[in-house]
Symmetry: C2
Subunit: 347 residues, 2 copies
């Protein structure tokens, strides 16, 4: 180990600054700035000299000092509930791709499904002077008054939020799922819904029920179970449903993890899916490819969700002051192997 009497880390070799460029190119600091930003015209000769110096010294502008001056960074704050939830990575990717193309960078925060942590992050983010923020709320709690940057909410909507948003047609998606089961001939249909304080869930279930009603299919209260948004919850709720008499011939799960749990419950009950019980999920996670049978599911365009949100945010950043926009993306039924005709009507 090298002897080092000083307790301090030696100062890192400092970066190349515009001063260095100016000195080497024999021009003033302002001129360097002019060629870099291209807002003020500069003679070709000087421009070339400056450019040469930039290349030779490998100069890279300092985002921070620039931000301090212009009052805005090229940072986009993104606050999500939990990157570990398989629905979110592709949303994040959608945001990042759109951001990267426009030369913005992503400051990612996991609020951990904790509104307090979410708030802490939102406040903290403002210290970075972000160009804008994208939020996937942890639940539908009310948002405190925001800072001075544009904000777009994705997926779930905070209570009373009427700023920009990008969501999917949860209500329509629910209807689609109901129509599919009804068309297959199901009459005994059960629902495993998710947590009540998540706005998307309510919409899905309401759409589902509405479509059933339209088709004069009634569903008694004990056929509706509320679960957490995971596999265990789906398993437990489905177990309860499968013991009912008459046993439901189909189960609508409010998301795919619940659907996977329900599938396991069917198997654990020595029943077959889809021959005895059909299952239909929501989300279109890739895990639905791997189950046996592959899950029929209402697919959300998760990547598009992020991408659209970022594009909307960009327009705000560029000064678009139109009234709040609410972009709603379509869902799509992906028919696979977990739903077919109910046993009684089978030929």
């Amino acid at each position: 180990m090298p002897t080092n009497k000083s307790t301090k880390v030696p100062a890192a070799a400092s970066r190349i600054t515009m001063h260095d460029i100016a000195r080497r190119a024999n021009v003033s600091l302002g001129t360097v700035s002019h060629v870099i930003n291209g807002k003020v015209s500069v003679s070709d000769e000087v421009r070339a000299r400056v450019q040469k110096a930039i290349d030779e010294l490998g100069y890279q502008p300092n985002h921070l000092s620039r931000a301090l001056r212009t009052n805005r960074t090229n940072l986009i704050g993104m606050v999500i509930p939990d990157i570990t939830n398989p629905f979110f990575p592709s949303v994040v990717r959608g945001v990042e791709d759109a951001a990267f193309r426009a030369n913005y960078r992503l400051l990612l925060c996991n609020a951990d499904n904790d509104p307090a942590k979410e708030l802490a992050y939102m406040n903290d983010l403002s210290s970075f002077m972000p160009a804008g923020i994208i939020l996937i709320p942890s639940d539908n709690h009310k948002l405190p008054t925001l800072g001075q940057y544009p904000l777009v909410c994705i997926d779930r909507q905070p209570l009373g939020w009427n700023g920009d948003s990008v969501t999917v047609e949860n209500f329509e998606g629910g209807k689609t799922a109901a129509a599919h089961l009804a068309q297959l001939g199901h009459k005994q249909i059960a629902i495993v819904q998710g947590p009540e304080n998540v706005s998307t869930v309510g919409d899905r279930v309401r759409g589902f029920l509405k479509e059933l009603k339209r088709r004069k299919i009634t569903i008694s209260p004990e056929y509706i179970q509320a679960s957490s948004f995971d596999q265990e919850g789906g398993y437990l709720c489905a177990m309860r449903l499968l013991r009912l008499v008459p046993r439901p011939t189909a189960i609508f799960a409010a998301n795919d993890l619940i659907a996977v749990g329900a599938l396991q419950a069917v198997k654990a009950s020595k029943l077959r899916c889809p021959q005895d019980v059909s299952i239909i999920g929501f989300d279109g996670l890739s895990v639905t490819d791997f189950t046996e049978p592959a899950l029929t599911s209402v697919v959300q365009p998760s990547y598009q969700l992020g991408h659209a949100a970022m594009r909307l945010l960009l327009s705000r950043i560029e000064g678009d002051t139109a009234p709040p926009r609410h972009i709603v993306l379509e869902t799509q039924l992906k028919v696979r192997d977990s739903a077919q005709e109910p046993p009684t009507t089978r030929r």
Copy 2:
């Protein structure tokens, strides 16, 4: 729509600064800084006055200007191949949790498995004066000379990299997998390995082969297939293997997605897993819970990988100048249902 003659967005209400605090508390700017940073002692009376002003005005320090002065932000740059790959989210989460606790924030970049994009991001990151960088390399390409901040490499190792790193015992993990299959009685064992330019893969396969050799189990070259790191690759390679005579009784897959593909190939070939063909994967992704049968796999501690890397980085940030450290985490065999005795030796 409101009439708005000006094309410019009205200047946002500017944030509260230290000047505002100073004015309200009737002290100088420097004094405010002193109470905030606590490095210089301040009389209780003045401290209270300043603190009161801070609370009343809801002051939050500006990270950017602070960074400009101190030459360091509380940002951690993290460059990963693709957040959409199910192995990475939990690594990211591990990093973020450790970072958050120490009051650092995460700047996340998807290099998209593209070394050029990776390099671009690494350069760009330095413009934010990050306190440090965590990199999961896209492949084993050589790293260019880095900037002045500490860097920790996770998982895959760049060629010639001898700085700090956190990896898992891929070699040992491979041996474990081999030992498990051998103990079950398998003799006809095949391998579907991943891309050659990813350092982790080679280690897994080498460990696997070494253990087989030690046990005097030979494996002919056509039993080893190279696949991409995904399900399709696994499916195709496994299909080829299953047509060989004698047919392998077990397949070692270099990662879980490959294993899932292999499982589908077994089913498509009208064979049963594990009765006819055993499969063992690597990673311990949650998808292995959902397949039928559930996959036996060598589990990597992905969250720990990120967490340990961030803690190592923190120690560097705080000035630890010890020689490069190479942390190697253990893998663990998770025995589930996809591997059992080969058909011939079954009682």
